[in-house]
Symmetry: C2
Subunit: 312 residues, 2 copies
């Protein structure tokens, strides 16, 4: 049985091609918006902005900004009102990739089939590109207060949420743990912790950011937080499986890198079949936490499901 069919009971009408079209529409909206936002932050000197542009327009899936838009929608708001914050979250993600790829970190020459930022511009510029994208993210979130229907109070809350999630107790904390664990066997609990921090925290902050800007009440924000935790882990399990079973032409990077780097993954701990079952369980939990949100959460349900049956 295909994974999609296991979710028939949710009356979701998941059709892979239709969903990919829906996803593409959102991705195109993000690309256009990222272009507009980039116009706001570019200027003198030219080199740093050219290199930032290279790092930002990298063929990414744009999951985080899409989550920001969905957060606003779940709160009953217009997703377009939170678009600058959506783009900011993508900038934070891209900065983390540029720094992760550096020789001093993961030392990756390619990302999504293109040479990494430091391969094109050198290490020094790549360090500054990461710094600049991170800084620009906060400039953009602050500028979201100029858009209709967004209060300064909520913008400040979002900056608190995002900075905590992206910082030393969140994403960067996950990267530090990751640095220390390459080549070292870690147990299941620590693997969860690592991924929750490294990937889950920014997913959570993205979804909550859109919702906070649109005044979602605390109890519903809690549900989004729980959803994001499950979503992040489902996403990571799928990533680990793709690294074993994926097609490197679709993924855009060589498969088998986890094994080569002797990394502990869901697959090394559980094997592919059990890992897949764990991923399905995570998505079922996602559905549970979205229970209260009705039809307006359908895209997010499909996204969670797609996350574990994607081939890239």
């Amino acid at each position: 049985m295909k994974i999609e069919e296991m979710f028939n009971k949710y009356d979701l009408k998941f059709n892979r091609d239709d969903f990919l079209q829906e996803l593409k529409t959102r991705q195109e909206y993000i690309e256009k918006s990222l272009n507009e936002c980039f116009e706001k932050i570019k200027g003198y000197p030219p080199l740093i902005h050219e290199a930032m542009h290279y790092a930002l327009f990298n063929g990414g899936k744009r999951l985080r900004p899409i989550l920001v838009l969905e957060g606003a929608r779940l709160a009953g708001g217009n997703p377009e009102d939170v678009v600058r914050t959506a783009c900011a979250l993508e900038m934070i993600h891209c900065y983390s990739l540029v720094h992760d790829d550096l020789p001093a970190m993961d030392n990756d020459d390619f990302r999504r089939g293109k040479p990494t930022c430091h391969k094109v511009y050198g290490d020094a510029v790549a360090i500054l590109v990461g710094d600049a994208l991170l800084t620009a993210a906060f400039e953009l979130i602050a500028s979201n207060a100029e858009l209709s229907g967004i209060s300064a109070d909520n913008v400040v809350k979002v900056i608190a949420e995002v900075s905590k999630a992206a910082g030393s107790r969140g994403m960067i904390g996950g990267q530090i743990i990751d640095l220390g664990t390459e080549g070292i066997d870690i147990d299941y609990e620590n693997l969860q912790k690592l991924h929750q921090l490294k990937t889950g925290e920014l997913f959570k902050a993205s979804l909550k950011a859109g919702a906070i800007l649109k005044d979602m009440p605390e109890d519903e924000l809690d549900l989004l937080e729980k959803f994001s935790y499950e979503f992040g882990l489902a996403f990571q399990i799928a990533d680990d499986i793709l690294d074993v079973k994926g097609d490197q032409n679709l993924i855009g990077k060589p498969i088998g890198s986890d094994e080569k780097n002797n990394r502990t993954t869901y697959v090394t701990i559980f094997g592919v079949e059990k890992a897949q079952k764990l991923a399905i369980k995570r998505v079922e939990n996602c559905f549970m936490y979205l229970g209260n949100f009705g039809k307006k959460a359908d895209f997010l349900r499909k996204l969670a499901l797609f996350t574990i049956c994607r081939d890239y």
Copy 2:
């Protein structure tokens, strides 16, 4: 005639020892506050926070946070109300030093007599420490909205101001220009531009941040902006002179590094004597822009003056 004496006409009563005591009082307040702020942002995992602490408590002069406090004072507000933003500006400064010192950038092993962050913790951790300090800065500024007398509107304005000043069109832009010009002769105009971006923008954002949080009107903010520009250049000229004539035991780094790196400086363009005159002119301009602020700007006047007659 000593430089100090040239400013007698301003009725400033500048006494070097008294001023150093005043400065020390403020520095101690900042150290204490940085410790308190650091308690707010530290947590799991331990290593990144230990390394952030190392990079932050580095014996720095704490000029930027002191400027934030003075900005609040000039606006007629209580400096203690803006203390978190003051600490945030120091975190931004410290992150820029950690990344600047990396082998891929300036490759410096010592700063203020202590091994640089990457020498102690390795390059990967140092990259993440810089990222984490920058991110924590925005977390702290956002948290300043919790303190009495600070509105979310003003916090958002400060985040816009600081992120622009620290970003690709500000400090990072200056660093990019600096990377490209080492070993290359640049003219006076480009030297000014380089320093305005690399140092001046963050001074400006610091002073304005405190003032904005305390509701200073636009026309007065403009004066602070002009002051900061002159202050930053005076500071830089003095730095260039210290690199030729300073005492490396007081400065905490080897002198002559500009010549060794074949860097264009105010001294290489103008010679020491002319550079000193330019610095004095900048400080006179500082005094001009502070004209409207009365006695409550006296500390800032003394600080500008001290900037060009300091020995460290």
